[in-house]
C-alpha cells in the first residue's frame, strides 16, 4: 500500500501544498488533476523522494519508476544501455524484449539523438516498465505531443499498465487522459493547493 500524507510544503515563505492525504492500493491507477502551476510537479517530487524537505510522511515501495514530461534519456548511451544501466538486474534479453514490446527493437544500438521524438518517448516508457515497478509515476507524459502521437502513446501506456499492473500516479491537466487511464481522480485546487475533490471513475 502507498500512503501519501503531505501536511505542508513551502518554498521559503510561500506555501505550495497543504494537507494532501491519500492512500493507494497495489495496482490502482490514480490521476491527479489540476491547472498548470498549482504544484503537481512539486507533489510528484515529494512522492518519488527527490525532494525530502516537507512536513509529513510518505510510504512508498522501493521499486519505483517515473515517466517525465521530456524523455530524460542519457544521450551518450545507446537505447539498450539506457535501459540496462538503469536496471542492472535485468538481462540484455529482457531489455531487448521490452524494446520489442514498445516497437523499437531494431533501434537498440542507436543513440537517443538518432531516434525520433516519438521513439525517444517509447524508450522512456520501456525504461519505466522494464523494472516491473510497484509504483509508476507519470508527470504529464503526453503534454507537448501532437494528437496522433499522444493517442498512440496513451494506448501503449494503457496496455503496459494492464500487463505490468503497477500502482500508477498520473499527473495531468487533461480530463480525457484521466478518464482513459485512471480508476480514481484527485483534484488539486486552491492556494496552497489541497485536495478539492475526489471521484471514483473520473468525471463522476
Amino acid at each position: 500500500m502507498i500512503r501519501v500524507d503531505v501536511r505542508r510544503k513551502a518554498f521559503g515563505a510561500t506555501e505550495i501544498l497543504s494537507n494532501i492525504d491519500f492512500t493507494m492500493e497495489a495496482g490502482e491507477t490514480l490521476a491527479i488533476l489540476g491547472p498548470s502551476g498549482i504544484g503537481k510537479s512539486t507533489l510528484l517530487r515529494l512522492i518519488t523522494g527527490t525532494d525530502t524537505a516537507f512536513a509529513g510522511a510518505i510510504d512508498r515501495p522501493k521499486n519505483m519508476a517515473m515517466v517525465f514530461q521530456e524523455p530524460v534519456l542519457m544521450p551518450w548511451r545507446s537505447a539498450l544501455q539506457n535501459i540496462m544501466l538503469v536496471h542492472p538486474e535485468i538481462s540484455s534479453e529482457t531489455a531487448r524484449a521490452v524494446l520489442q514490446r514498445v516497437g523499437i527493437a531494431e533501434k537498440a544500438g542507436l543513440f537517443p539523438r538518432q531516434l525520433s521524438l516519438g521513439q525517444q518517448r517509447r524508450l522512456a516508457l520501456a525504461r519505466a516498465f522494464a523494472g516491473r515497478p510497484e509504483l509508476l509515476v507519470m508527470d504529464e507524459p503526453f503534454v507537448s505531443l501532437d494528437a496522433a502521437t499522444a493517442e498512440e502513446m496513451l494506448t501503449l501506456t494503457e496496455e503496459l499498465i494492464a500487463e505490468t499492473r503497477p500502482a500508477t500516479i498520473l499527473v495531468t491537466h487533461s480530463q480525457a487522459e484521466a478518464d482513459r487511464l485512471a480508476s480514481r481522480v484527485l483534484r488539486l485546487a486552491g492556494k496552497p493547493a489541497t485536495i478539492a475533490g475526489e471521484g471514483g471513475q473520473a468525471g463522476q
Binding site: 523522494g49 527527490t50 517515473m66 542492472p88
Partner: protein, 250 residues
C-alpha cells in the same frame, strides 16, 4: 580540398615555415636566426649523442606527473565547489588568489620553501595549473542537468553508475577543455621550472644554450618538444575526443 582538416593543418604549418625562411633570409645572420635546414645537423647530433632524448624524456616525465596531479586535484575540487555552494563560498577567494599569483612567484616560493628538488618542481607546476582546471570544471558541475539527476534517483541508480553514466559524460567537455589548455600551459611552466632550478630537462638545456647565446640549439630543443606536443594532440587527444563525442555526431 582546402576544407579538409588535415590538408588545412599541413598548409598552415607550411605557411609558418615559409615565414621563418623569409625572416631568416632577411636577417642573414645564422647566429641570430638560422634557416630551418640549418637545424637538421645539430638535431641529428643531439639525438645521436643521447642528450636530446634524455632531456626530452625528463621533461615529458615531469609534464605527465604534473598533468595527472593537477587534473586529479582540479577536477575533484571543481566538482565539489560546483555542487556545494557553501564550499564554493569559502574556497572561491583562495581560487582568485591562486589564479592571479604569477607562475614565477609560485615557482620561486616552492624552491625556497621546499628546496631545489623534484618535489618542489612538480608542486610548483601543479599549483599553477590547479586553479584553471578547478574553474573550468566548476562551471560544468554547476550546469549538471537536474532532470537526469532526478531520473537517476527515482530509478535508484547506484552511486558508481551515476558517477560514470550521468555525471562524467556531462563533465567530459569541461574536463577535455581543461586537459587541452592544461597540457599546453603545463609544459611551458615545466620549462620555466627546469630553467630556474633543475639540472636536466629541456628547460635546463635551453638555459645552458641561452648562456652560450646558441640560438640554434635553443631552437632545436624547443622545436623537438613542440613536435612531441603536436604528436600528443593529434595522435592522442583528438582521437580520444572523437571517440567520446561519437554520440553527438552519430
Amino acid at each position: 580540398m582546402l576544407q579538409k582538416p588535415a590538408t588545412a593543418r599541413i598548409l598552415s604549418l607550411v605557411a609558418l615555415l615559409v615565414c621563418w625562411i623569409v625572416a631568416a633570409a632577411l636577417t642573414a645572420d645564422p647566429s641570430v636566426l638560422p634557416a630551418p635546414w640549418a637545424l637538421i645537423d645539430p638535431f641529428r647530433q643531439a639525438v645521436a649523442s643521447g642528450e636530446l632524448p634524455y632531456h626530452l624524456g625528463m621533461t615529458i616525465w615531469r609534464v605527465i606527473w604534473a598533468f595527472l596531479l593537477a587534473m586529479f586535484v582540479g577536477v575533484s575540487l571543481g566538482f565539489v565547489m560546483g555542487r556545494f555552494p557553501a564550499v564554493d563560498r569559502w574556497l572561491d577567494p583562495w581560487l582568485v588568489v591562486f589564479l592571479n599569483l604569477p607562475a614565477l612567484v609560485l615557482i620561486v616560493l616552492c624552491y625556497l620553501w621546499i628546496g631545489l628538488n623534484e618535489t618542489a618542481a612538480i608542486t610548483a607546476v601543479v599549483l599553477n595549473k590547479i586553479p584553471n582546471v578547478t574553474t573550468v570544471v566548476r562551471e560544468g558541475a554547476r550546469a549538471l542537468d537536474p532532470d537526469l539527476s532526478a531520473m537517476a534517483r527515482v530509478f535508484r541508480m547506484k552511486p558508481w553508475a551515476r558517477a560514470r553514466h550521468i555525471v562524467l559524460p556531462q563533465l567530459a567537455p569541461f574536463i577535455a577543455a581543461a586537459a587541452r589548455s592544461g597540457i599546453a600551459v603545463i609544459w611551458k611552466i615545466v620549462l620555466v621550472v627546469e630553467f630556474l632550478g633543475r639540472s636536466n630537462g629541456v628547460g635546463f638545456q635551453i638555459h645552458l644554450y641561452f648562456q652560450q647565446f646558441d640560438v640554434t640549439m635553443v631552437l632545436v630543443y624547443s622545436l623537438s618538444f613542440i613536435m612531441v606536443m603536436l604528436g600528443v594532440e593529434w595522435l592522442l587527444l583528438q582521437p580520444v575526443e572523437r571517440r567520446v563525442w561519437q554520440w553527438r555526431t552519430a
